[in-house]
Amino acid sequence: MPAVLFTCLASGLGALVVGALLRRSGSGLLGGMALGAIAGLLGSLAAMIPLKYCVLDPENHMFFELSILGQTITVNAVALIGFLLVMVVAWAFALAIDRLRHHWLARSATIWKADTAPGTFVGYDFSPWIFLAPTVVGLAVFTYYPAAQNFFLGTQLARRGVANTAFNCLDNFASLITSRLQDAHYYILSDGFIWHAENARYLAVFGNSVFFSVFIVLVANVLGIAIAVLASQKIRGATIYRTLMIWPYAVSGVVVGVVFAVLLGGGGSGFLNQSLRFLGFEPIPFLSDPWWARVSVVAAAAWNKLGFNVLIYIAALQAVPRELMEAASIDGANAWKRFLNVTIPMISPYIFFVVFLNLNYSFFDLYAVIDNLTEGGPVNATTNLVVDVIRIGVESRDIGKAAAQSIVLFIVVIGLTYMQFRVMGRRVTYGAD
């Protein structure tokens, strides 16, 4: 009975939300409400049937305290996540139905009818499938199956090395927001202005990821463009300079971590601190202070990526037509103004390209650097999302919880990709293609 009520509620909510949204964008109210109701119905069924409506069972509930502007309220984490889950799935259904409604006829004609491009081989009906089979099977087994498996494991109590699992509703997800900090001092975003500090463990790890991403992208791109501008001047030996600057790209994260550990830490007296002491300054606790440790990770990762950025930006700058710069000089623009008003707009597609690659790198590929530089410490100050997945899934052997975190990562990827398409889709330059 609560299940039926729940489904009806989801449909009604969907009808209201989508109806209101479509009305604002000028489409019909009734059509929007029907679409929203169907999406809410399908969404709640698709999200709740696999979960056996366990969210409605008070036995599964977990609570945490949320303090907003000094007011402390108790929130049911399982119900909150269940609600968000239904919303997301319903939203996906709404988008999909809308798409299908608009494009079904046109697309159905093109999907199944083979295109008539010239130059295709005739009379080999079977061989393309043989050519494609290894790739398709490989991706299905080693990419899509594990990705789907995450959704199953996320709702299970699963231990590493044990084949059996047991259903535990949304506990793995709820524990992300209810698990408590050991030491609030070591986390970002834990001073209580958004979340109560004691409940912020996962949010803090998330905060580390965001911190790394923002600053790695900033440092690697500002320095990358600056160096590329210097290196792409018409000077003698430009190719030699370029070669001498781009090679760090090929250095592995492990080597970066190990070498920077010697530079910054090295058993408490790394190269930098010895130099500082030699010059009469106080040593800096690069790897033992939470904030300095974060800065160290950013420095190491940015150094690793800088070479690649320089390479791409040099190529971008060489594609800027000289006539434009000369025209700007004739109009009286000084070097700085030419850079801001001509160079930057002309290379902006490359900037977006590099920024998104760097973002993906700093969200997902930092494990080797962090593991060899700080090992996620001090305490958990440099633990980011991926390091936490490995800590929990492999070292703490809690596969279910790690799978739940992987799903959060997956949502981040989808967000990044969506942003990428939105930004790249727009025209970001004038005149160049």
């Binding site: 990419t143 001498l244 010697v262 150094w303 070479g307 997945v389």
Partner: protein, 293 residues
């Protein structure tokens, strides 16, 4: 001054532009200085690692800025710790992964461009959508699949097989093949060539740059991969250099001995750096679409 005596370019610019360029060239000495600072800044970490690889701990902690006398000892330590084995394993695995990726991508790209079959765009979408899933997102479930369900723990199969299907590669070759004029394959068909002959005799010779690009990107990525071998391989005889690096300690002194580890770090970085520097042009071409999968 040098600008005035230099031979004039073929496309001689109008006087005003020449004046502007000479103004710029007068300032060039400081561009050189800035560039050298950048080069030193970029090179310093690995240069310092190379320096430490010739020193013992005492010399390193003394902040000695010239080579020490321990290079031979460090080399011996590293060799005793099976660095040759680690390097060979890494080379073998990276080569197999790269080769597999190139072969599978060429065949898939060919199927997507030179054949008609129902559901082609769906298959392409299926392959391309995998670009969106970074390995780190699926790694826990993949570990469970490979170690528990397939029982491939501690084998090279586990390092190679899950990595050989490459959406990036398929996309790269599809784009490249689509840019080749269709008259070529029509001519080949008129001459009675079957698809395999066309691939070997016509398509591959035309694809040398694309193949090189993919090889550079994928070999470097495979050589540098760390997390997956760290999880799935625990047998030191099968391990790769990136994971084995921290075991290059001499095991005698208390705490870490940095010389051997730095030596290992330098040695492990040489192959990918050489490949990258030599192939930077092809690398750049291949990087139109990326995410190293």
């Amino acid at each position: 001054m040098t600008a005035l005596t230099r031979r004039r370019p073929v496309n001689q610019p109008p006087p005003l532009f020449r004046l502007l360029r000479e103004q710029v060239s007068a300032k060039r000495w400081y561009i050189h200085i800035l560039l050298w600072i950048a080069v030193l800044f970029m090179g310093f970490p690995l240069f310092y690692a190379a320096l430490v690889s010739t020193q013992n701990n005492a010399q390193m902690f003394r902040l000695q800025l010239f080579p020490g006398d321990s290079f031979n000892i460090n080399l011996q330590t590293v060799l005793d710790r099976q660095i040759a084995r680690l390097l060979f394993n890494t080379f073998a695995v990276a080569t197999m992964v790269t080769l597999g990726k190139v072969v599978l991508s060429v065949f898939s790209g060919m199927a997507l461009v030179y054949f008609r079959f129902p559901g082609k765009s769906l298959v392409f979408g299926f392959i391309l959508a995998a670009l969106m899933v970074p390995g780190e997102v699926t790694i826990i479930a993949l570990f469970r699949l490979v170690a528990l369900e397939l029982g491939w723990g501690n084998t090279w199969t586990a390092l190679v097989v899950p990595a050989v299907a490459s959406p990036t590669g398929v996309f790269l070759f599809r784009q490249h093949f689509a840019s080749i004029t269709p008259e070529l394959s029509e001519a080949a068909q008129l001459d009675g060539a079957n698809p395999l002959q066309f691939l070997l005799r016509v398509l591959l010779p035309l694809s040398r740059n694309t193949v090189t690009a993919l090889v550079v990107i994928m070999f470097i990525a495979a050589w540098n991969s760390y997390l997956w071998p760290l999880l799935i391989v625990t047998n030191p005889d099968l391990q790769v250099i990136q994971v084995g690096l921290s075991t290059l300690d001499d095991g005698v002194e208390i705490g870490r001995t940095y010389g051997p580890i730095m030596l290992g770090a330098v040695i492990a970085s040489i192959p990918p750096i050489i490949i990258f520097v030599l192939m930077q042009k092809q690398f750049l071409q291949g990087f139109a679409l990326t995410r190293h999968k």
